[in-house]
């Protein structure tokens, strides 16, 4: 049914939790199935230095959020912004067709968090 990678991220989520004073927060919910991902990021010098997630919903949603954090920590935000749902799916090896929405939700959470940073660009720019 699910790949070992999905199961492993569900059983042992990476970077679960919530950052204090995040540089950006993405919090998105799928209105159909109510799956939700909340992603908080720390950005230093345009690089994602830390990320944590909270998630509720079906196993792929938790796994997608968890694997996403491992894909973005240490990345420049420009490169992170280019991640697509397929990168998330690839990192989990495979998702059942009916569960692609989990990867979509993870990417949306990331975009939400990055948008939120862009809106505060002046602030972080000031720090430079």
């Amino acid at each position: 049914m699910y790949t070992k990678e999905v199961e492993d991220h569900l059983a042992n989520p990476r970077n679960a939790g919530e950052l204090i004073e995040p540089s950006g927060t993405g919090d998105v919910v799928n209105q159909v199935c109510n799956d939700r991902i909340r992603l908080t990021l720390h950005i230093v010098d345009g690089v994602i230095t830390d990320a944590k997630f909270k998630a509720s919903g079906c196993p792929p949603t938790v796994a997608a959020a968890s694997v996403l954090t491992t894909l973005i920590i240490g990345q420049e935000i420009e490169r992170a912004a280019q991640l697509s749902r397929n990168d998330v799916i690839a990192a989990l090896v495979r998702l059942p067709p009916a569960k692609i929405h989990s990867a979509v939700l993870a990417i949306e959470a990331l975009q939400g968090a990055l948008d939120c940073i862009n809106n505060r660009e002046e602030v972080s720019g000031a720090k430079k």
């Binding site: 998105v28 109510n34 991902i37 909340r38 939700l105």
Partner: protein, 401 residues
């Protein structure tokens, strides 16, 4: 708590075959082979074994052996009952009454009949998951040929008031509705609670071996003597012309032996399972907040516990348990590829969130205290962890596209 422990708590889906049952079947694979319809002694020994099984099944439900028709399983039994009555009695009426919480073997069959001109009434259930006999009584019209209500539900285990419904059916029959029939899907209840077809007042009753430690591929339909019934399919004259095809002798022998064991150990098994099930529920309630037992308050099978854990996804619980070797099921996730929430839980008027968080634990005759202790520990840990992982409810999220 062993990490490598295997705990099978999905006995409502299927059960392991009891060792005595396997043993009873083996001779019919390779020694006493023979087609039960053959004249020679290989065939006659096979036939004798089939007739012994027929007596065993009859004994389990207090019927006559000649009233038992062997079929391939519960789905076929339900179809044979419902379509059989529909076909044989459509001239006198085209109305069928069933409930909203039947198994797809009944519901999909009724829906197919609707598209060929039958009218079907789907009786609702209470929030505890029980049909109201008075509503059935009122639903019976002059053209009603069949009432089909399951004895116990497969998802929540609630036992339906068949005796009362049976009384109303008989009442109507005495008042002239000679074409009114009463069927029950006893797939979940057979071998778990005592059954007497006359007490229930049913004309037809479906059961399947693999739900009570018998083999898959063997089921039976009780057909009360004198009941006119159409056929599902055609061929030789097996089973008194009710069901053609070479008899699945080992399967039937296993079905009979499983019925025999279940009948002998009925109260013992049921007391054990009920004790463990109640202990499971009490322990979960003590160690977790915000949970609800579905079907609680109604009479329930001794072996089923359907629990809604608020704020978590049933499938995520299931996978977490599976990774620790524990098999359960959920009413929330993909069942055979469809993403629909369970029609049974919907019929109970649970919230979307309650449906989503539902997990069914179903025990078998071989479930042990140690297995339940392990399942409790793993479940509590999984639910707590998933709840911690969830974003706090007060924070507001943006809708996804």
């Amino acid at each position: 708590m062993t990490a490598s422990m295997k705990v099978y708590l999905d006995n409502s889906a299927t059960t392991l075959v009891a060792p005595e049952v396997i043993e009873s079947m083996l001779p019919y694979f390779s020694g006493d082979i023979g087609n039960a319809s053959s004249v020679h002694s290989f065939g006659q020994r096979a036939k004798a074994a089939v007739e012994t099984a027929r007596r065993q099944i009859a004994e389990l439900i207090k019927a006559a052996p000649s009233e038992i028709v062997f079929v391939s399983g519960g789905t076929e039994a339900d179809n044979l009952a419902i379509r059989g009555i529909a076909e044989a009695h459509s001239a006198t009426g085209r109305h069928i009454i069933t409930s909203a919480i039947e198994h797809p073997a009944v519901l999909a069959t009724c829906e197919a009949l609707e598209s060929s001109g039958f009218r079907v009434t789907y009786a609702p259930v209470s929030s505890a998951g029980v049909v109201d006999p008075q509503q059935i009584r009122e639903a019976i019209k002059d053209d009603t040929i069949l009432v089909s209500i399951m004895q116990a539900n497969n998802e929540i285990g609630t036992v339906q008031p068949l005796e009362e419904i049976g009384r109303f059916v008989r009442e109507r029959r005495r008042a002239g509705a000679s074409n009114l029939h009463f069927h029950t899907d006893a797939v979940q209840s057979a071998g778990k609670i005592p059954i007497d077809v006359d007490d229930l007042g049913v004309d037809l009753l479906s059961l399947t071996a693999h739900k009570f430690h018998g083999p898959k591929g063997a089921g039976a339909l009780y057909v009360k003597k004198g009941t006119r019934l159409g056929k599902l399919f055609y061929g030789g004259h097996h089973e008194r012309d009710r069901r053609p095809g070479t008899e699945n002798v080992p399967g039937i022998v296993g079905l009979g032996r499983a019925a025999d064991l279940a009948a002998q150990e009925l109260s013992e098994r049921s007391d054990r399972m009920r004790g463990l099930r109640n202990y499971l529920e009490d322990s979960l309630k003590q160690r977790l907040t915000d949970m609800k037992i579905n079907g609680d308050g109604a009479p329930r099978l001794p072996n089923v516990s359907n629990v809604s854990f608020a704020g978590v996804d049933g499938e995520s619980v299931l996978i977490n348990l599976d990774l620790k070797g524990i098999a359960v099921s959920t009413g929330a996730a993909c069942s055979s590829g469809s993403l629909e929430p369970s029609h049974v839980l919907k019929a109970l008027a649970l919230t979307k969130e309650e449906i989503r968080g539902s997990v069914r634990f179903s025990l078998g005759a071989f479930t042990t205290q140690a297995e339940i202790d392990y399942a409790i520990a793993v479940t509590v840990e999984a639910v707590k962890r998933l709840r911690e992982l969830a974003p706090a409810a007060e924070e507001s999220a943006r809708a996804s596209l």
